[in-house]
């Protein structure tokens, strides 16, 4: 007797590759694989033919050659005699610099705007809604260009600071906004400044140690130590003490007018400021929405339950609402950081020398190595993206609700 569940008898027939659900998936996968391989083979053979016709080859030797161009803002030593590889590294560091600055600024702006959007104050709420909508709905490229125009066309030239009654004055006598960039006082590290730095590092560790001790004391004995002012004191006092004992080894160098330009101090280019602030306020609008959604996602009952246990408002926020809201806020926050890093490639529109400007811009145009340069460029951005999303997955796993 046969039942319905018996496997079909008989040997394997070719038609089963199409009609039998057990084998059909192999057919599909095989076809997909063949198509992909054929596509790559086709593109590859075209590439080989085109390269041969143009007398080119794929080689990364150009990275070792001298670059012959200057970069106006560098974090590491670089001159026009350095190699293209060095130029690319300068670009990478510049990308990371602007992404880092923009991430921090965007977070601050976004958190403030997001919290204010939930404020009981009608006017502030509406203003923040206006900010969020205005900045979310206009391309970031336009914001970059607008801020760049402010920095280059509106700011006074350095010569305006000259003379008995100058047209422009320095802010606090130390900061100069010019159309060539922003001039800030820069630190000069005298002898002994290393010790000051080390003491500062040690006091950071000390703050953490104190907080851990206070927490342990709270759990063991129930005694509550104050957190705020002791932390600040541990952080600042020892460093200040050592600073004055050693005779103030770190001094500030103020920018001075010399010739046609300012000398000394730190110069921040207008293009960096434009990119940094445009990315910050643009992404800040997105972060504001994430923060608002995160706070709203914590149900009101949680705060009320905490209040009925007798907790004070600040503790309710710190211990009950924020930990739950952060679970909602952090993942989109990190993907916003990723967007900042990727959008920083728009630097090329204002002439800031990030990796797209050096490797994908001047190096590409000088050497004509388009394929190699763009492959390297993509690999760099891909590596950053994958690293960050890997970290995010680890975080998500650690905070996800443990169910079932």
């Amino acid at each position: 007797m046969t039942t319905l569940s018996d496997p079909p008898s008989g040997s394997f027939r070719l038609s089963m590759l199409v009609n039998d659900r057990r084998y059909r998936s192999y057919t599909f996968q095989f076809i997909a694989l063949v198509i992909v391989i054929a596509l790559f083979g086709y593109l590859g053979s075209n590439l080989v033919a085109n390269l041969r016709a143009a007398g080119l080859n794929i080689s990364y030797g150009f990275l070792g050659e001298s670059s012959n161009y200057d970069i106006n803002q560098t974090l590491i030593d670089y001159s026009s005699r350095s190699t293209h590889w060095r130029a690319a590294m300068v670009g990478v560091l510049n990308t990371l610099l602007v992404a880092f600055l923009a991430c921090i600024t965007a977070t601050i702006i976004g958190v403030i705007a997001g919290v204010l959007r939930l404020s009981p104050n009608w006017l502030v709420r509406k203003l923040m809604a206006g900010y969020v909508e205005a900045f979310r709905n206009v391309p970031v490229l336009i914001w970059i260009i607008i801020i760049f125009t402010v920095m280059t066309a509106v700011m006074p030239a350095p010569s305006a600071f000259r003379g008995e009654t100058p047209e422009a004055t320095m802010l606090f006598g130390a900061i100069a906004f010019t159309n060539r960039g922003l001039y800030l006082p820069g630190p000069i590290w005298g002898p002994g400044s290393l010790i000051v730095g080390l003491v500062f590092l040690a006091s950071i560790i000390g703050v953490f140690a104190y907080r851990r001790y206070a927490k342990k004391l709270l759990y063991d004995t129930g005694r509550l130590l104050p957190m705020g002012w002791p932390s600040a004191a541990i952080l600042i006092l020892p460093t200040l003490l050592v600073y004055f004992i050693l005779g103030r080894p770190i001094t500030l160098e103020y920018p001075e007018l010399a010739g046609f330009n300012f000398q000394g101090g730190i110069q921040i280019l207008g293009s960096l400021i434009a990119l940094w602030w445009a990315l910050a306020i643009y992404t800040g609008a997105f972060i504001a929405e994430n923060v608002r959604a995160g706070i709203l996602s914590v149900s009101k009952g949680q705060a009320e339950a905490a209040a009925s246990l007798g907790m004070r408002p600040r503790r309710i926020m710190n211990l009950v609402v924020l930990p739950q809201a952060l679970r909602v806020i952090i993942p989109p926050l990190i993907s916003n950081y990723l967007n900042i890093t990727k959008n920083s490639s728009l630097a090329i529109a204002v002439g800031y020398m990030d990796v797209t400007g050096t490797l994908g811009g001047i190096t590409l145009n000088q050497t004509g190595r388009a394929i190699e340069s763009i492959l390297l460029l993509m690999a760099f951005y891909l590596a950053i993206s994958l690293a960050i999303s890997g970290l995010m997955n680890i975080y998500n796993n650690s905070v996800s609700l443990k169910e079932r």
Partner: protein
């Protein structure tokens, strides 16, 4: 004893007093201001700060807006008219209006064609966006619209869009003939039939039959280019995105990994590098001698970019469906294609609408990036030909403000529509 209190208590009012108005501080504007603006000292300070900020903003912008000059041949003439008063020089917008919208190479005597295509876009898109308001027959026009728009904007013989359309018709006929046997046979048979049809009709000479003047792609520019790139890439990327999302969810490992690698690669690199690829690298990968135009290459790249993002959004929608829906489909005996078409995708797409609209808005904003690879879209026109001209060198705020306003209107409109649609589609009862 009496049943009234009149004897026991000296005086009791036996009629209701008329209602009096609440105290001044508890009604109308005063109460509203106390509750919403000055509920505490900190709030009052915040309100004052906001008012001061608003005042500075408006006092800077309003004279500039209101004193604006709308009719002048150049920035110098503008400044003469203004005579050192504060005021915007909006004359640049009226004088260069056509360049801002159509670019500087599109033949001026046929501006009516893209304009007509733009107007028809609303007719075509209205029944898609507001299904309940417009009759379903109008969807036929929406289906025809891409071909009409191509004919109007690019020109050339009418047979090219007609053949393109007929290819789809042939494909659909083959699909409906074989879909009863198996979805795969119908689907791939349809695609094959359409490809064969297009290949065959490629040999038919079509020059000059009912032809409009041909406009090459490199002459497109201005806001029109942003709109073309935005609409084409968004509408193309939705089907690709669905396919990629299903592929990523599939239990066939090879297909799954192809989709994962594609999606993660595209999402990991900035759009600019993909545009560089379209601009300088893609030519190396095409057969020697082929030369297809930059707009098409850019459309391919932006579509790939957008479909990877849309795939992730739809994947989220698929994952959000309870497992019971999949199992219900299986228990009804539906095969994969039926289950997806009839049960899973309608629900998953509904969940993903806000995400898809977000991607669409982001993509439309990103079309400005083509100005980096020297295409003259709205931003490219402003930074290139207009600001570089001797007449208008220095009119930054009017031009950039206009560009920002255009994008704001479109993007804000789309996001408001998506919120409205979300409320319409809400079927769970609260």
């Amino acid at each position: 004893m009496s049943d009234t209190h009149q004897q026991s208590i000296g005086y009791v009012r036996d009629s209701m007093l008329p209602e009096t108005a609440p105290p001044m501080g508890e009604t109308g504007a005063v109460k509203w201001m106390r509750a919403n603006l000055f509920s505490s000292v900190a709030n009052g300070a915040l309100t004052l700060a906001a008012i001061i900020a608003l005042y500075y903003l408006l006092s800077g912008v309003m004279p500039w807006l209101l004193n604006g000059i709308w009719d002048a041949p150049s920035i110098r003439a503008c400044r003469e008219i203004l005579n050192d008063n504060v005021g915007g020089c909006f004359a640049v917008l009226t004088e260069r209006w056509n360049q801002l919208l159509f670019g500087f190479k599109y033949p001026s005597e046929i501006y009516w064609r893209p304009t007509l295509a733009f107007v028809l876009l609303f007719v075509a898109i209205a029944p898609v966006l507001f299904r309940k308001v417009f009759p379903a027959q109008m969807l036929w026009f929406s289906g025809l619209y891409p071909f009409i728009a191509y004919y109007l904007i690019w020109g050339g013989s009418i047979l090219i869009p007609v053949f393109a359309l007929l290819g789809f018709v042939v494909g659909y006929l083959v699909y409906s003939r074989y879909v009863a046997q198996s979805f795969a046979a119908g689907f791939f048979g349809g695609i094959l039939a359409a490809l064969v049809f297009w290949y065959v009709t490629g040999f038919i000479p079509v020059q000059g039959i009912l032809a409009l003047e041909i406009v090459p792609s490199r002459d497109m520019g201005g806001f029109m280019l942003n709109l073309i790139l935005g609409t084409v890439c968004v509408s193309l990327s939705i089907p690709f995105g669905i396919a990629l999302a299903l592929g990523r969810q599939s239990d066939m490992p090879i297909i799954k990994w192809i989709c994962i690698v594609f999606i993660e690669f595209i999402r990991g690199v900035p759009l600019i590098t993909l545009l560089f690829v379209a601009n300088v690298v893609l030519a190396y990968f095409l057969p020697p001698g082929t030369n297809f135009d930059l707009i098409l290459r850019v459309i391919i790249m932006i579509t790939m970019f957008a479909s990877a993002y849309i795939a992730e959004v739809i994947r989220g929608g698929l994952a959000a469906l309870p497992n019971g829906q999949y199992e219900a489909g299986d228990s009804l005996g539906l095969d994969y294609a039926q289950k997806m078409r009839l049960i899973i995708l309608p629900q998953a797409l509904k969940i993903s609408i806000p995400g898809i609209v977000n991607v669409a808005v982001g993509l439309f904003k990103d079309t400005t990036l083509v100005s980096v690879i020297s295409m003259f879209d709205l931003v490219g026109m402003i930074r290139g030909p207009i600001l570089a001209s001797t007449e208008w060198n220095g009119v930054y705020w009017e031009l950039l403000g206009f560009a920002a306003l255009l994008f704001f209107v479109v993007c804000y409109g789309i996001s408001q529509y998506s919120q409205w649609l979300e409320r319409q589609l809400q079927t769970d009862h609260r």
